[in-house]
């Protein structure tokens, strides 16, 4: 069990803000930290890693990591951390990046095998693609068999297909190594696929603590679909208006009447809801 009860003053883009988090996390669970940028997700992760100071208390499986002035150094926390920008050591080959953490060649080979990276083990990071780099970073983070794996938006710099592949790798490794995994993410599908608990932060505080379905499923009442999108354009066609809305990577058209068309402004965020139809997947 991880018990976190911390306070820290942050100076973000919106000025001064109090990070004030009290939460318990079960061993072997997969927790997603969601929330807008500047809400304190990354800071919380860095405090857990011992990379930033904070007041309060953190204990992990009865071991005290932070209490008052006493803080266990990062080096002794035995965690794994995956950064958004990979943070690999450019002077070392893939294999040496892993062995730098721990001289355990069998484990390094096993991790590279599990992530289909074995054939690239002697390459330098500069010659790898983003997805490959992040797989190396993921393997490296597991080299000291951490009890806690922290990930700060690990997949947000990757394209969608690579993301899906990496999500499978993350889940596989999370289960194989039995880590307690805490991941910062913006992507609902990613969170749904991976996490069994979602903590949503707002202005440094946890405002929602639920599973992924509750956190992101936005339909109310008899609504069958509710999609968040951005209104790109409104085109007049005879007496009707047609709105062009971007939902994820897709564009859709929605028919509006004049009153609706007048009440919307281009560029705003809109909910696209629908009730009476039976969707089919193909």
């Amino acid at each position: 069990m991880i018990n976190i009860n911390i306070k820290k003053v942050l100076f973000g883009s919106l000025g001064k803000m109090d990070l004030d988090v009290e939460v318990n996390i079960k061993e072997h669970s997969f927790v997603a930290l969601a929330g807008e940028s500047g809400s304190g997700k990354t800071s919380l992760l860095r405090v857990l890693a011992g990379l930033e100071e904070a007041e309060g208390k953190i204990s992990v499986n009865e071991e005290i990591w932070l209490e008052g002035k006493k803080s266990l150094p990062t080096q002794k926390r035995g965690i794994g951390f995956v950064f958004q920008d990979y943070a690999l050591f450019p002077n070392m080959s893939v294999q040496k990046n892993l062995l730098f953490v721990k001289k355990d060649k069998a484990l390094a080979m096993k991790l590279l095998e599990m992530t289909d990276m074995l054939s690239l083990k002697d390459r330098l990071p500069a010659s790898l693609s983003g997805g490959q780099k992040q797989r190396v970073a993921l393997c490296r983070a597991l080299m000291n068999r951490p009890s806690i794996l922290l990930m700060d938006e690990p997949l947000s710099a990757l394209d969608p297909s690579m993301r899906t592949k990496l999500q499978h790798d993350i889940l596989k490794l999370h289960k194989e190594f039995g880590t307690t995994t805490i991941m910062v993410s913006h992507d609902p599908s990613e969170i749904y696929r991976l996490a069994d608990r979602v903590l949503k932060l707002e202005q440094g505080k946890i405002v929602q603590d639920s599973n992924a379905k509750e956190a992101f499923l936005k339909t109310k009442g008899s609504q069958k679909f509710s999609l968040q999108g951005e209104l790109l354009d409104i085109v007049q066609a005879d007496i009707l208006y047609i709105a062009i809305v971007a939902i994820g990577q897709q564009l859709v058209e929605v028919v509006l009447d004049e009153k609706e068309a007048k009440s919307l402004t281009i560029g705003q965020s809109v909910q696209v809801n629908t009730k009476a139809f039976a969707p089919s997947l193909s």
Partner: protein, 229 residues
């Protein structure tokens, strides 16, 4: 021109002085540059200003203060002479001390710049992997600033070879002891021996150019290989 009686001792002295100075400064400047690049201390601007002073001060001013501090008439000079029997001015030891002050910023600044451009997350990844600050400096930071490292070493070396004012103030011109190439050239000009001055100057010019060319060729090659991250 007469090459037969060319005396290479001043060149040898210049390069010996530069090599010793570069070696000593490397040991001092690496920890200092690393600290400066990582610290948020309020003392940082003061230390940076002090370490950059030799760039702006006239060499005669540095030379004068060093002479004043290290000569037998000062407590430091007297202490060294009485305790260890070492004279600190008008000999090679004095030149090394003076050069270390004079060339200090040329070693610290490229190193500090190199350390500051390193990805902070990469250094943190090393701490998370359980490595100490010293291990991170030696195994991660230094190997990843090779171009800056080479620049620091070469520029320090070249700058020491090229020094004149400080050397003259602290060392004088004792043949085989403190008469380095730049001082020798000055003396040739003073006695109107332009042909020897030409030869010495041309040698300095060509060697300096080749050294700098080597640095830039290496840096270009290195940037292509590792890529700019």
């Amino acid at each position: 021109m007469d090459f037969s009686n060319l005396d290479f001792e001043p060149f040898y002295l210049s390069f010996k002085l530069a090599a010793v100075t570069t070696f000593i400064l490397f040991l001092i400047a690496v920890p200092m540059a690393w600290w400066l690049s990582q610290t948020k201390s309020r003392a940082k601007p003061f230390l940076e200003a002090i370490s950059s002073l030799p760039i702006v001060l006239p060499p005669s001013v540095i030379g004068f203060y060093i002479l004043f501090t290290l000569s037998y008439n000062s407590p430091i000079g007297a202490f060294f002479e009485e305790t260890f029997g070492i004279k600190l001015v008008f000999n090679f030891t004095g030149l090394v001390i003076a050069s270390c002050f004079y060339s200090f910023p040329f070693m610290v600044q490229p190193l500090q710049g190199g350390f500051e451009t390193l990805n902070k997350n990469m250094l943190e990844a090393s701490y998370i992997a359980g490595k100490s600050k010293l291990q991170t400096l030696l195994l991660v930071a230094l190997p990843n600033i090779k171009p800056a490292l080479l620049t620091a070493l070469i520029v320090t070396f070249a700058h020491t070879v090229g020094e004149f004012g400080v050397v003259l103030m602290v060392g004088g011109s004792i043949p085989g002891e403190t008469k380095v190439a730049s001082v020798a050239i000055y003396e040739f000009v003073e006695i109107l021996d332009y042909s020897q001055a030409h030869i010495y100057s041309a040698i300095m010019l060509v060697m300096s150019f080749l050294v700098l060319l080597g640095v830039y060729l290496f840096n270009q090659h290195h940037t292509r290989r590792i890529g700019v991250s």
